[in-house]
Structure formats: C-alpha cells, structure tokens
C-alpha cells in the first residue's frame, strides 16, 4: 500500500518530465539565438526539485493521494514554459518561488501532521485572514494595481495577501461549520415557505457575507470577492445540505454586488466592460478584447510554443496585457490552441476530482469540510480567471493557480496542496486499516 501509492506518483511524474522537456525544447528551438542553453538547465533543475519532493512524500506521507502532486507539477511545468517564453528572468523567479513554495509545503507537512490543532486556533486564524485582506488598504504598505488594492509591500517583500487569506478563511469556515452544522440544520425555521438558518447562528455567516462585500468596496477586488463567497456557499451547502441557504446567499451577494456596482465606479466599470467591450476597444476594452482575439488566433491546435505576439513588434506596447498573469490562459490557447486550453481545464478538473475524493474518504467532519473547502476555493479560483479571460464573467485580477507568474500564488497554493495531502494520508491510512472494502475504495 505504502509503496504502491508512491510508485504511482513516481510513474505519473514521467509525463511531467516529458512535457517539460518538450516545452522547453520547443521554446529553445524557437528562440535559441536570444536565450542560449539555459533552458535545459532550468528543466533539469525543476525535475530534480520534483524528485526531491517525491522522496520527501515517500518518507512522510506514504499513503497520500498519488496523483495530486504530479498534476500540480504538470501545471507548474506548463506555467514555467509559458512564463519562460515571455521572459526568461521571470521564469527563473517563478522557479525559485516554486522551490520556496515546496519548502513551505514540507514545513506544513512537518508541523501540521496533526492538523486538527487548526480547529483550536480558528478565531485567531479568522482574524489573521481578515487582517491579511485589510492589509492592502493599510497606509504605508498597501499598493493599488489597476484600481484594485491587491498588493502589500513591506520593505523588499511584496505579496498578494488574498492568496494566503483564502486558506485562513477556509480553515475557519470548515471548523466553524463542523461545530455548528447540526444546529444550522435542526434550528432552521420555515418562514413564508423559505427555510432560514437560526438567527443566533447566522451572525458569523453574515460576517462572511459582509467580508465579501467589504472586499468588493474597499479592496475593489471583484475576483477574490466572488471566489471567497462561492467557496463559502459551497461549504455551507456541503455542511448543511440546505439548498435554500445557497439560494439566499446568492441572492444576498447579487443584491450587494448590484448595489456596489451602481455606487463604486471601479466595480461598475468592470461590469460595463464585460457587457460591452467594444465600447472603447482601445482603452477600457483593450485587455478583454485582445484576450479573446489572442484565442481566436489559436484555433484548434494553436500557433506553437513561442509563436504568439505579446507586444506590438518594434514597440514595448502590450498586445496581450498582463500575459504572464491575468491573461496567461489566452496565451496558452493562442500557442497550443483549443486542445491546449482544454488540457489545462482538464488538469484543474482532475485536481478537483482528487480533492473531492479526499473529502469523501475522510472520516471526521472537519477533515471532510477542510478538504472540500480547499478544493472548492482552488477550483473556483481557476474558474474565475479562466472565465474572466473568456468573457464568461467580468475579468478580474486573480491568478491562474500554479500557472500564472507570481510568488504569493505559488507559495499559498503549495500550502493548500500540503493540507490536502495531509488529510489524504490520514484518510487513506484509516481506510486501509478498517478493512478490504474501504481499501479498494481508497485506492480506486
């Protein structure tokens, strides 16, 4: 059992190695005059780090899900190739961030083996999460990007606190809902044909709604706000099984979003651009339109690695703005086509499937809810940004997990992955111990 799971992981890393080599080789062949032979060194370095992580998992979490880490490595490798193709220096940073992320991943696994301790500190964690969300508005350290307050800069260290806040909020919600789900279900009252949660337990839930609205107004971060609230509703539904709660929640979010869309110019503009990008194609509509135009150029198979135009030739003007972060999915569709884009979506779907599988296998309520929440927030983040650049929803500045350039995103998602693997290791160990039937299920 122990070695079986890890052997599968090792085998699953082979396609990652192949993709990475092929991708770097393609970019290398395309631009070798400019880039030199550094690309091969990058590839080797990345694979060595992956193998080291695999060995660490063999020792520390032998029963953990064998597919999650290779899937994440696949996304990271794909992201590295894309970022490398935009700017070799950015790719070097990105690779270093991934190493730092894996260090935090290892530390998380080392110190949070008994992750139930998180329950004990849930209010501290919730406070930390809210403080992180507030930080970009604090004088001196906050930074405004494109009208949204997303970044924090303390001395030389700059990061996007929302990426870390999402883990804190999910931990808090999982813990809170584990304890209160019974009363939320039993205490619910039917008022005018609608099932409402009991009022005295409603408070913390209203706080979450308020926090989402607060983010919309003060942080002006439509994407994170959407992501947090959707993850909250997903957890609330899984914990209570009450669909009416979700309907009420969506209603409250829409009312709040509508109100602020009318009153906060930044939010209003984002929605207006989404509805009609051709209104001002050279300015406000430029990013979303060029994101779509880049996809139109990709077709079924794409133009090939390293072929897409990112800046207007002969100038430094962006043709695909924020290609290494917000619109990296459009760049992928441009270079590897609809098939490449679908492959990326499929990898996220497989990660979500493995995450929910962990939640199904987990024995206790907190583990179940934590695994569900972490998986949901991860999947919804991917949906919010891919949906943004494909004009399913308004375009917002959320990163594409493990693919977009950005240290905070990589490091935070590595911690998220560590938590999922911790839950998985325990669940599968217990499943194995409790009999053959569960064993079969656990290794399916």
């Amino acid at each position: 059992m122990r070695s079986a799971a890890r052997n599968r992981e090792l085998v699953a890393l082979i396609p990652v190695a192949l993709l990475l080599s092929a991708g770097f080789a393609a970019v290398f062949a395309e631009e070798n005059a400019r880039l030199g032979n550094l690309s091969l060194i990058y590839g080797a370095y990345f694979l060595a780090v992956c193998l080291a992580t695999h060995v660490y998992l063999r020792l520390r979490l032998p029963n953990a899900d064998p597919y999650l880490f290779p899937l994440v490595a696949l996304l990271t490798a794909f992201g590295l190739v894309m970022v490398y193709r935009i700017d070799a220096d950015l790719a070097r940073d990105q690779a270093n961030w991934f190493v730092l992320g894996l260090l935090l991943f290892a530390l998380t696994i080392h110190f949070l083996r008994e992750y139930d301790v998180l329950e004990r500190y849930r209010y501290t964690i919730a406070a930390a999460g809210i403080l992180l969300l507030l930080a970009p508005r604090l004088p001196g350290i906050g930074q405004q990007v494109n009208g949204a307050y997303l970044g924090v800069k303390i001395g030389p260290l700059a990061f996007q606190p929302a990426e870390f806040a999402k883990i804190c909020i999910v931990v808090f919600l999982a813990s809170y809902l584990r304890e209160h789900r019974e009363v939320l279900i039993v205490g619910a009252r039917r008022v005018l044909g609608v099932t409402l949660p009991p009022l005295k337990h409603l408070g913390p839930l209203l706080v979450v709604w308020g926090a989402s609205m607060f983010m919309l107004v003060f942080i002006r971060d439509l994407g994170s706000s959407l992501m947090f609230f959707a993850a909250f509703l997903a957890l609330l539904y899984v914990a209570t099984g009450r669909f009416s709660f979700v309907v009420i929640g969506i209603g409250m979010f829409l009312v709040g979003a509508w109100f602020f869309a009318e009153t906060v110019p930044h939010v209003h503009d984002r929605i207006a651009i989404w509805l009609d990008p051709y209104q001002d194609p050279a300015n406000t509509g430029y990013q979303i339109l060029n994101s779509i135009f880049a996809q139109a150029d990709g077709g079924l198979f794409g133009q090939g690695f390293g072929q897409a135009l990112i800046t207007i030739p002969g100038t430094d003007d962006a043709l695909l703005p924020a290609a290494q972060t917000d619109t990296i999915y459009s760049l992928i569709v441009n270079e590897v086509g609809l098939f490449g884009g679908c492959a990326v979506v499929l990898i996220y779907l497989l990660i979500a499937a493995r995450g929910f599988k962990i939640a199904l296998l987990a024995d206790d309520g907190f583990s179940k809810l934590l695994a569900t929440g972490l998986t949901a927030v991860f999947a919804i983040q991917a949906f919010v940004i891919i949906g943004g650049v494909t004009r399913v929803i308004p375009l917002t500045g959320v990163t594409l997990p493990f693919i977009s350039y950005g240290g905070s995103s990589i490091v935070a998602n590595c911690v998220l992955l560590a938590l999922l693997l911790l839950i998985s290791d325990r669940a599968r160990r217990e499943a194995a111990a409790s009999g053959r039937g569960s064993l079969a299920m656990g290794t399916a």
Binding site: D297, G298, G299, V345, A379, F383
Partner: protein
C-alpha cells in the same frame, strides 16, 4: 455530507464545461469573425512579421515587394511599390494600419503563404517559418503604361484589356491614379478627395452610361435569338417616336431601309431602337445576363471593389419583368450603367467566338523555393452567343473601324473590330455641371481574325466624342500589346 460533495463536484464539472464551451466559441467557431474585427490588429501584426511575397508583372517587373525593418523581435516587413502610381490600380496596397485593397487584398492568402492548419503544424515541427509566395500577374507593363499615358492626356477614365481566349487581364488602368507608397501618410486625404476619387478603381467601380457601345449587345441578342439575320433590313428614318418621346440619329440623318452592317457602321439610333422593340425586354435581359450584366464580374478582386453593371432605378438593379424602355436600352440609353470591365468582357466574348472567359489578373503562384505551386487554368464563364453570331458581329465591327465612326482606332496592317460610344452626360455634377459633357467610349479587339486583345476604353467628362478621344487610347494600348507579342 458525501452526497453534497458529489453534487458540488457535479457543479464544478458544469462550470468547467462552460469554460471549454466559451474557449471553443472564441478560438474556433467565432474565430474568423473576430479576426475581421476592426479593433483586432493581431492578424495584420502577425502578417507583418511574414515576408509577404512579391507581385510581378507578366514580364517579371516587380510591382510590389516587402522590405525588412528592425531586427529580432522588432523585425517586421513593410510594403514597397517600385512602380509607384502606375499599378496603384489594380494592385492596391497592404499596410498594418491602413488595411489592404484590390489585388493585395484578394490574394492575401497566397501572398502571406497561408496553408492548411495541419500543413502549418508540419512546418512548425520542421522549424520552418511561414513565408509568402510570389504571384506573377498577366499585366503587360508596356500596355499598362500606354493606357495610363493615354488617359492622363484625355481625362479621368479607365482602360481594361483582356486576352479573349484565356480571360487574362493584360491592362487595368484607372485615371486619376494614386501612388500606393504614399497611402500610410495620405490615406485620409486620398479618401476625402471626392472630386478626383483617386482610390476609386474606375475600371471596376466606375459605372457609366455605355452609349452606343451597347449596340453590340443588342446586335448580338438580335442575331443570336433569330430576331434578325444579316439580310434583315429595318427602315431607319432620321427621327422616330418611342413612348411619346423622339429618338433621333446623329445629325438627324435618315438612312432608309438598311441592314445590321450599315446600322452598326453608322451607329444608327432609330434602327437599334426598333431592333430593341423586336427583340423584347425579356430576351435582351437574357442575353445581358449571359454576358455578365446583373452579377459581379468573376475577376480576382475583392467583391466590394467590383461593381455590377445593368439597368438601375436609383440604386436598385432592374431585371426581367421590370418596366423598362427596351428601345432606348438597345442603343445604350435608359438607365443603363456599365463598368469598363463589363464592356471589356462583352468585347472579349465576341472576339472569342462567343465564349466569355473568366477575367483573371493572376497568372501563377511561385513559392519561396521558386516552384510554381498554382497556375491559372482559364475557365469559361458563359457562352452568351454562338460562334456564327460572333463571326457576323466581328465582320460588322470591322466595318465600324474601316469606314464608320471608329476609323481613328485603325492600326495599319492589322484588322481591327470595334465600336465607338458617346453618351451625353450634361449637367453632371461630378464633371463640374457643364452642358456639353460626354462619356466617351471605344470597345474593340485586334487582330479581328485572330484576336490577341479585347479592350474597353472610356473617358468621363469630356466634350469630345468616343471616336476622337477613346479610340486613340484603344489604338495605343492595342499596338503596345501587338508589338510585344
């Protein structure tokens, strides 16, 4: 909770399905429409990085080529037109900001080396970059220059020359010309110059009253339908009454009973008005359609730059069943409007035994390694009249040049068949509103017994007659072609 978790996963599957659906929509189903959007500079920027192929005249003269600018990532190609204004029409231009037109636009795919999607994947795997193909045209530089020189001396107008047996377009000139090299700096001024309209290709977009040149269409319909033969005579007095209004011959001359030869040689209006009534509107429209009137000519230029010829009510094209004055159509009046290209096609069909070939400017496509990848395969567009009718008409048109209104078109030692035309266009605002303004025409082909070239030449806003001003242009262009053979 497990049931809810599975449901939640179901929701995520649906949401991701939406992402795939939208990506497919943008990247495949809506891709072509998006590439055509005004706001989308990507296709042009990408093409600018490809070395666009050259455009050559029939003798290899370079009409358009690309020159590199910048290096590395900033490398791009800019279009140059070494012959300047001489080939502004029909070659057109291609620039990133200003877009493209005419031949450059129609043949864009070959010029940038666009292949199938699978083909480009193979190229990519082999490390090939996309390269453009050269296109050799049928344009004869001597004749093109003769046409433009002739027009510049005569006034605004156009000349189209087609090889009757193949449809190869040897000359396509429009005056005033423009220099495509100046389009990046002067496009706005060129567009705003409504009086001269230099960007208007008068050969394919100029719609003029055809005057007496249309009599060859009426004669063709009369002979081919059996309404008349060469022996038929029609009494042609100086003036007749058609629908309450008089129709008169030039100078009011009365000819008495005459046949087709005499009527065409002297361009007798009263004869053709009666012929028109004999044929009837339905039959005349039938023959016009077969000659290509009523539909966009099948030339290799963008549809929006090739206009339809026919009878128009305001901007609406009339056809069979519409109330028209067939007598006046038969000698080229009524609301007939024709392009020089259409009249050249009529002439070429008669010259080619009644078979109208598809007019084409391009001749062959040559890939960067010098291999000919595509070659023009001349195809028939229609057979409006039979061979006998064509021969009879040719004989009548020879008479026009030998002893009739078309003598200035005669070339020593070469049999020429032709027809003059002079449509009165008084008080035409685009001509400055003068009362003596004409649209002067000459259509013809040479040599009459073995035609190498069929030409339509027209001059707008002139006080001269077709025989005086258009026939000499015909002659100069035809001589340039025949000397080059």
């Amino acid at each position: 909770m497990n049931r809810q978790i599975v449901q939640l996963f179901g929701l995520i599957v649906v949401l991701f399905g939406v992402l795939v659906a939208f990506t497919s929509y943008w990247s495949v189903f809506e891709a072509e429409a998006l590439k055509g959007k005004q706001a989308n500079k990507r296709p042009l920027l990408e093409q600018q990085q490809i070395e666009r192929g050259r455009i050559l005249a029939a003798d290899g003269t370079v009409l358009a080529r690309s020159v590199p600018k910048g290096r590395g990532d900033a490398l791009r190609y800019v279009r140059r037109y070494p012959q300047g204004a001489l080939y502004g029409h029909p070659i057109g231009y291609s620039f990133v900001r200003e877009g493209d037109s005419e031949f450059e636009k129609f043949h864009n795919g070959e010029l940038v080396g666009e292949g199938s999607e699978f083909g480009s994947i193979l190229d990519e795997l082999q490390g090939k970059t996309q390269e453009g193909n050269d296109i050799v045209t049928n344009i004869d530089p001597e004749a093109q220059a003769a046409a433009l020189v002739g027009l510049e001396a005569a006034g605004f107008g156009a000349v189209v020359g087609i090889e009757p047996s193949s449809g190869r377009v040897r000359v396509l000139a429009s005056n005033p010309p423009y220099d495509p090299n100046r389009v990046p700096e002067e496009l706005t001024e060129l567009n705003e110059n409504e009086l001269e309209a230099p960007l208007l290709d008068r050969a394919t977009q100029g719609r003029y009253p055809p005057g007496s040149t249309f009599k060859v269409v009426a004669a063709a319909a009369g002979l081919d339908s059996g309404a008349i033969d060469l022996e038929t005579t029609i009494d042609a007095p100086g003036t007749i009454d058609v629908q309450g209004q008089p129709v008169s011959n030039g100078g009011g001359v009365s000819y008495g009973p005459i046949g087709l030869d005499t009527a065409l040689t002297n361009s007798v209006n009263t004869w053709f008005a009666q012929l028109g009534e004999q044929i009837g509107a339905d039959t005349l429209f039938e023959y016009m359609d077969a000659f290509g009137f009523g539909s966009t000519p099948a030339i290799d230029l963008p549809d929006e730059q090739v206009y339809v010829s026919g009878v128009f009510d305001e901007n609406e094209l009339l056809g069979r069943g519409d109330p028209v004055d067939v007598a006046r159509i038969a000698f080229g009046q009524e609301r007939l409007l024709v392009t020089p290209l259409q009249m050249a096609e009529v002439t070429a069909a008669i010259a080619n035994g009644g078979s109208l070939m598809r007019p084409q400017i391009w001749s062959r496509v040559v890939d960067p390694d010098g291999r000919v990848t595509e070659k023009l395969d001349p195809t028939r567009y229609s057979q409006p009249i039979d061979e006998q009718t064509a021969a009879e008409l040719t004989a009548a048109m020879e008479g026009v040049v030998e002893e009739g209104t078309g003598t200035p078109a005669a070339i020593p030692g070469v049999a020429v068949a032709g027809k003059t035309g002079t449509a009165e266009t008084p008080f035409n605002e685009s001509c400055g509103g003068g009362s003596e303004e004409n649209q002067a025409w000459f259509v013809g082909f040479a040599p009459a017994d073995d035609p190498e070239i069929a030409i339509a030449a027209t001059v707008e806003c002139t006080t001269a007659f077709g025989s005086e001003i258009a026939a000499p242009i015909f002659r100069a262009v035809a001589e340039a072609i025949l000397e080059g053979e």
